[in-house]
Amino acid sequence: MSQQREAILVTEDSQAITGLRARLSLWNHVQFFFRKKPLGAVGAVMALFVVVVAIFAPAIQTRDVNLTDHTKLYATPSGEMFLGGDHLGRDMFSRLVAGSRISIRVGLISALVGCTFGLIVGVSSAYYGGIYDLILQRIIDSVIAFPGLVLALALMAALGSSINNVIIALSISFMPTTVRLIRSQALAVKEMDYVLAANAVGASSARIIFRHMIPNVFAIWIVTFTFLMGTAIIAEASLSFLGLGVGPDVPSWGGMLRGATKNYVGIGPWLPVVPGMAIFAVVFSWNILGDSLRDVLDPRLRGTQ
């Protein structure tokens, strides 16, 4: 009787401890990351700040983003217009704040889709191998031959400008690289003893893929995601700068730079500087975050990069 009670107590106890440890360890991980990688922590905070700005953009912007005002053409920054006016007299500050929404939305969705496609296809290609892997790799070979921006441009030519089409075009152009990256890692994981052991005890393919392979390539997924965030934001700005991106009425940072090149002489330096600084700061923060995450998550690369 007392023995039974003791057993129950022990189980309860150990459950409590595991629960506590799991919660503590996540917090510990964050603390460890911030202490070990201060630069990466700065990146994380900056990246988070821009996401918060993007979420609350409608509350932060002071004027209608598409309100043209011919008395404010190339206006200098003032209390009314913090960052001045553009070539149509629209408020640069409000457009900059609204532009963060476009960048973050395009970045998050296309990086998420690109990486997740890479995870599913890369892991299954490595696990099943054979003819499926062979054919897939040949297709990847030919898609990877398109320089990134050229493929995105060709897709935009076919799809036409809109924010969703930018997301589609970028997701597709990310896929071959993410499949390659994740497949190579998954091939290494497949040769591990724990996969062999799982096979030996008769685990199903689904179990091996979901319980063993995916968790062990997930570090690569996270690192790739943070880098693609930056790549996607630059790519969206590039497409919008060429006038082949999100469309002329949508306030995007690339579109603002396009406006700044309507005239080079006689405009204030803030017109070309401000949107570019915004792109640079966001991409920089995601990149240093990714860099530090890679150092922490992938021990093999520690100290080399």
């Binding site: 297709i139 320089p147 700068f241 080079y264 002489v265 330096p269």
Partner: protein
């Protein structure tokens, strides 16, 4: 190696198929968009005009015939006739391709000249002040959109020196100095990102090599630091750098699209952007095929050169 070379043909064919498919599988009739003159200006046209234009463009034939004709043409360097300019696409590409290629090579040279010393210094002085400065420059350089550097350059040159992107382009064989003067700024803007990337590759390659036994052997037998660095470290560390540089030419060709637009350089990048705006499918297809072909050829050369330089791969 022979297998690697032979794989080139199916890959190229797959690329051609994909380029064709991307532009054909989308709804929308290029004949209609040509006749109506774009979405802004809705011009009136008759059904007869439409049929005649479709017959002229060849878009009235079944898709597989169009595909076969096009692929057969591409093999013979006939990329069809531009929908918009009404001239053979190949004529335009032939004229403009060398300009873009020159721009890309110039940018690569500029990038390499800065990146390799920067990467090596960063590696041999690991975790010191020069290394940190170098790493911050390279991480920053990768995050900078290179077209923004281009815009800032033009802005500065326009306001400080009254210099604006030239309207006419001077040929490199005609007036080499004027040509260099025209291309040096766009090449610089294009080079920044690639410089940063190459410097990172150089640094990690040099770090890896500096831990090899033969470097310790070279030092312990009393060779001067100059000889160790020049003959042993650099020679071995440059192998991956050259490989990456070869692959980078493709990305550089993609990047020229933006830079050419900003600096008004009449290369194929500018032609591609105009082709997309006009929905000029043969032009877009032709340019994408040419760029991809160049990338695949360069990858093949890099692979072969790598195997030739590295006996461990050659004999396996």
């Amino acid at each position: 190696m022979l297998k690697r070379t032979l794989l080139f043909i199916p890959t190229m064919l797959l690329v051609a198929t994909m380029v064709f498919a991307i532009l054909r599988l989308v709804p929308g009739d290029p004949a209609i968009s040509l006749l109506s003159g774009g979405p802004q200006t809705e011009t009136e046209f008759t059904e007869e005009d439409l049929q005649r234009l479709r017959a002229k463009l060849g878009t009235d034939r079944p898709i597989y015939i169009q595909y076969a004709t096009w692929v057969w043409g591409v093999i013979q360097l006939d990329f069809g006739t531009s929908f918009f300019y009404d001239q053979p696409v190949w004529d335009d590409i032939k004229k403009r391709f060398p300009i873009t290629f020159e721009l890309a090579i110039l940018a690569l040279l500029m990038a390499g000249m800065v990146a390799i010393p920067l990467g090596v210094i960063s590696a041999i002085k690991q975790d010191s002040l020069p290394d940190y400065v170098g790493r911050i420059i390279t991480i920053g350089g990768i995050a900078v959109p290179n077209f923004w550097i281009g815009i800032l350059l033009v802005y500065m040159l326009a306001n400080l020196f009254d210099w604006l992107p030239p309207l006419g382009y001077k040929d490199v064989w005609d007036k080499p100095l004027d040509n260099l003067q025209q291309l040096v700024f766009p090449a610089f803007a294009l080079a920044i990102t690639h410089m940063a990337f190459l410097a990172r590759v150089t640094r990690s390659a040099a770090l890896e090599v500096s831990r090899e036994d033969y470097i310790r052997t070279a030092r312990s037998k009393g060779l001067s630091e100059k000889v160790v660095l020049g003959r042993h470290l650099l020679k071995n560390a440059l192998l991956p750098v050259v490989t990456v540089a070869g692959f980078e030419v493709g990305r550089l060709m993609g990047g020229t699209v933006l830079i050419e637009t900003i600096f008004n350089v009449p290369g194929i990048g500018q032609l591609l952007v105009k082709g997309i705006q006009h929905r000029d499918f043969p032009m877009v297809q032709g340019i994408v095929i040419i760029i991809t072909f160049l990338v695949l050829i360069l990858n093949l050369i890099v692979d072969l050169a790598y195997a030739w330089l590295n006996p461990r791969i050659r004999y396996s």
